[in-house]
């Protein structure tokens, strides 16, 4: 099968970062109260993941591997992602105030998001090339957006309902997330992707 297709489907459904790999749970639970803020967060994650994939690939390939420092990739990637997000923020603040206000507070928030770091590390682990890394970054972000928007939709409907008191608020959110995660596990093995 086309390897790019495999990466795309794998990143969105089969190996969904949040629901199957349990990365980025913090923003997943924190910013999923309303659908539109969830969507904003999702777009910010797509944005950061795609550029982070490219840059971490380049640094890994041309710096870390060259010096035999692959074991330093985690700390190096954290550094790269943090610096990258900050510089991107400065740039879009200057050139696209509308995009800046749309992404708003979410952009700096995901600087230290483990899903972003996870994408960078998995790209290296799976030995993706530049294009594959980029695709994986974009569609892992799409998968994250899908998951967080779904949960936000569920939460919006649960909150006004008569939930038993001991489950009200966070517990019922966790249960909803768990059911969502179980539903997503049905995708495993789709098109033979593991």
């Amino acid at each position: 099968m086309n390897p790019y297709f495999v990466i795309i489907i794998g990143a969105i459904f089969v190996n969904n970062f949040v629901l199957n790999q349990f990365l980025g749970i913090c923003p997943f639970l924190g910013v999923s109260k309303k659908t539109n803020t969830a969507l904003g967060m999702g777009f910010a994650v797509i944005f950061v993941m795609s550029i982070a994939s490219v840059f971490t690939y380049l640094v890994n390939e041309f710096v870390l591997v060259k010096f035999g420092l692959e074991y330093m990739k985690t700390i190096a990637f954290i550094l790269i992602i943090a610096a990258l997000v900050q510089s991107v923020e400065i740039v879009i603040k200057k050139f696209s105030p509308s995009l800046y206000s749309a992404l708003g507070v979410y952009l700096p928030l995901i600087t230290t998001n483990c899903a972003v770091l996870g994408v960078a590390l998995l790209n290296v682990e799976k030995a993706y090339n530049l294009v594959q890394s980029f695709l994986n970054g974009v569609f892992a972000g799409v998968g994250f957006t899908l998951a967080i928007v779904l949960l936000a939709g569920v939460r919006e409907r649960i909150v006004p309902k008569n939930v038993p008191e001991s489950f009200r608020g966070f517990p019922i959110t966790l249960i909803a997330a768990a059911i969502l995660s179980m539903a997503f596990s049905a995708f495993s093995g789709m098109f033979g992707i593991v």
């Binding site: 010096f67 035999g68 790269i80």
Partner: protein, 270 residues
């Protein structure tokens, strides 16, 4: 392979590589930060420094800085802010090139009923004035009487509202930040703005005829006009059976307070 097996180098090289990466990013960030600095509108900065900084949200914006931005863009009106002093509002108006016609205000509760006003029924339900209001317009016989169940107390973040022993709400001015949440929350709309310099105010909001008011409330304005006749400045008129003070004329002599048969014109200190 550059990495040496000797221990000092095995530490030095990775550290050096990381330091170089970090330094590159540091320079890049510093460069970008300097080169692409977005100048905050000078106006917004000045306006924000003059606002009270209470961040009470009374204006409807997320805080003083959001309000300052809206002001500078001409989207908001200065009068929406209750917390900023008149002197500072004048300065802001000068910066914005507008005129500040609002003067410093304060909030008073315009009801003198409480226990002096009869109850229509005993309320044993859940909640506060807002829920009581849903049940036949509240428990008081007066349609605009303070029910004393403390919706304003609940909405005040600064413990300025309280229900006194006379059964109606009052506002402690030393604690009040003028955010206006109490005024918005009162289902009867009894909390009103008067100029901060005002010495007296009409503590009643009832427009019913004097005889009707008398039948259920000992403290309500009956529209007799004693205040109007005794005011040396002609600052008081009776409109729809309720005394109204024109604060542009009022000198705060207190003649109306002394003459009012219902004692519903009060001095502010009370």
């Amino acid at each position: 392979m550059l990495l040496s097996t000797s221990l000092p180098l095995a530490i030095v090289i990775p550290a050096a590589v990381l330091i170089v990466i970090a330094a590159v990013f540091a320079v890049l960030l510093a460069f970008l930060g300097r080169k692409l600095e977005v100048k905050r509108d000078e106006k917004v900065v000045q306006v924000e420094s003059l606002l009270s900084g209470a961040n009470c949200g009374g204006c409807g914006y997320a805080g003083c800085s959001a309000f300052a931005e809206a002001l500078a863009n001409g989207k908001a009106d200065l009068s929406a802010c209750n917390a900023t002093s008149k002197a500072n509002k004048d300065k802001i108006a000068a910066i914005l090139g507008t005129v500040n016609d609002g003067e410093e205000m304060s909030f008073v509760v315009c009801c003198n009923g409480g226990s002096a006003c009869e109850d229509k029924y005993d309320y044993h339900g859940y909640g506060d004035c807002a829920s009581m209001e849903l049940l036949a317009g509240g428990r008081k016989a007066c349609p605009v009487g303070c029910m004393g169940a403390g919706t304003c107390v609940k909405h005040c973040d600064h413990h300025a509202c309280s229900i006194g022993d006379k059964g109606y709400a009052s506002i402690r001015e030393d604690r009040c930040t003028l955010c206006g949440k109490c005024a918005k929350s009162c289902p009867k709309g009894l909390i009103k703005k008067i100029p901060a310099r005002a010495k007296v105010y009409v503590a009643c909001s009832n427009h019913a005829k004097g005889k009707d008011v008398r039948s259920y409330c000992k403290g309500g304005c009956i529209g007799c006009g004693m205040c109007m006749r005794n005011c040396p400045e002609g600052a008081i008129t009776v409109v729809d059976n309720l005394a109204v003070i024109d604060y542009a004329k009022c000198i705060g002599c207190g003649a109306c307070v002394a003459k009012c048969p219902s004692k519903c014109i009060k001095t502010r200190e009370e």
